[in-house]
Symmetry: C2
Subunit: 208 residues, 2 copies
DNA sequence: GGGCACTCTAAGCGCTCGCTCAGTATCGGG
DNA sequence: CCCGATACTGAGCGAGCGCTTAGAGTGCCC
């Protein structure tokens, strides 16, 4: 059985780094279950069942249920940070880079809504140490967006009275997509990404 | 003991309608616990303990733990809808009404973050019937904002290519305040309300 | 003062939870 | 042909869950 980068279930696989195969199956099952019911309402029996294994098998690959959430959260945040860094590092005007960052960030939240939900909304279910690690990653996400906005202000392209506040609002807008986006709804991730890129450019006062 | 509209704990009391007194104390305790830990991670023993009562006392006033969440969710949504309706019904230009609606809606989410968190993020913990009732209330919230934006477009004050999408984004932005707002942080609810009203006016293309 | 309605508690029932452990199947190396 | 290592299962432990029940305390009407 070869491990492809994409599976047929619509969700791209950013979990190729998780080995062995059984550990990845458990992790993918946990992402689905956490996204559907929330961390606390999900049982280890449910996770193992979705992965086609007995409840005890989970504990061969993970020490606790919380370790599963921790792993999911870290990998997810690293992927989100990677997306923003790629967009921020591209050539082009601040407006182009901001639009690119927002649309790709939104596409990730909409298309991988299952993962994004767990990553963005189950932070409080982690213990103090794991939470601190994730919060550090979030600060780097924030810095990435803030830098683009600062570049735009410095270049005279943007009109932003409150850079930290606007950065917060832009990220908040993107992240909340994971809450309301519906795969069976009328909008594709691409449509929402384009709409949001336009709205954010308006927010920073960049004329189209 | 007189029942004032406000208590000393910083959170205004929209729970005056809940009687008798013991039922209200239980409900306020449940709001705090649900906001801190989430619905599923909160135990009925914890709620009763916060209200200074035995675990069994909860079941004199509420049939189940879910009924508590349902009551909180309905009252909260009615309050949110009320805030938007008041702002939408005032006299003034569409821009003034939209700014008013956004700033007051945001102030409610930031100032009453404890309540807003439960109201906005625990919807999935309700059963099908209760959830359907709450979703109906949300549609009315959406309609309230959409009407203001449509008025602005009709009057030629706003430039909005996608009215439903922009409505969704505006509400999403406001609601997510309940996720990130920190009472001990640098911003007051009023500051966030003003900032967000400005950002939303930019989103709809209304010149300041 | 007796009866009743209301409010609350102590105790605990049945259940499911996260997690453990003894034992089994499989397989490559000697 | 046996060995130990690896991956997994069946059974179940102690704990804590939502919720119930029997009964006690309190105040109000007659």
């Amino acid at each position: 059985m070869s491990t492809a980068e994409e599976t047929a279930d619509g969700e791209p696989q950013p979990w190729a780094e998780v080995t062995p195969d059984a550990a990845r199956r458990l992790l993918v099952a946990a992402v689905e279950a956490f996204a559907e019911r929330g961390y606390h309402a999900t049982t280890t029996r449910d996770i193992a069942g979705r992965a086609g294994m007995s409840p005890a098998a989970l504990y061969i690959h993970y020490k606790t249920k919380e370790e599963l959430l921790h792993r999911i959260s870290r990998i997810g945040h690293e992927k989100a940070l990677d997306i923003l860094r790629t967009a921020a590092g591209r050539e082009g005007s601040p407006a182009e880079r901001l639009a690119d960052a927002v649309s790709s960030f939104v596409r990730w939240h909409a298309g991988g809504r299952t993962t994004a939900r767990v990553v963005q909304y189950e932070l409080d279910s982690l213990g103090p140490d794991a939470r601190a690690e994730i919060i550090a990653l979030r600060r780097r996400v924030d810095a990435e967006v803030r830098t683009i906005i600062e570049d735009g202000v410095a270049a005279g392209d943007f009109d932003v009275p409150d850079v930290p506040g606007t950065t917060l609002a832009v990220l908040s807008l993107c992240i909340d997509v994971a809450r309301w986006f519906n795969v069976t709804g009328p909008r594709t991730p691409e449509m929402v990404g384009d709409l949001y890129a336009d709205l954010v450019l308006r927010m920073v006062g960049a004329g189209t």
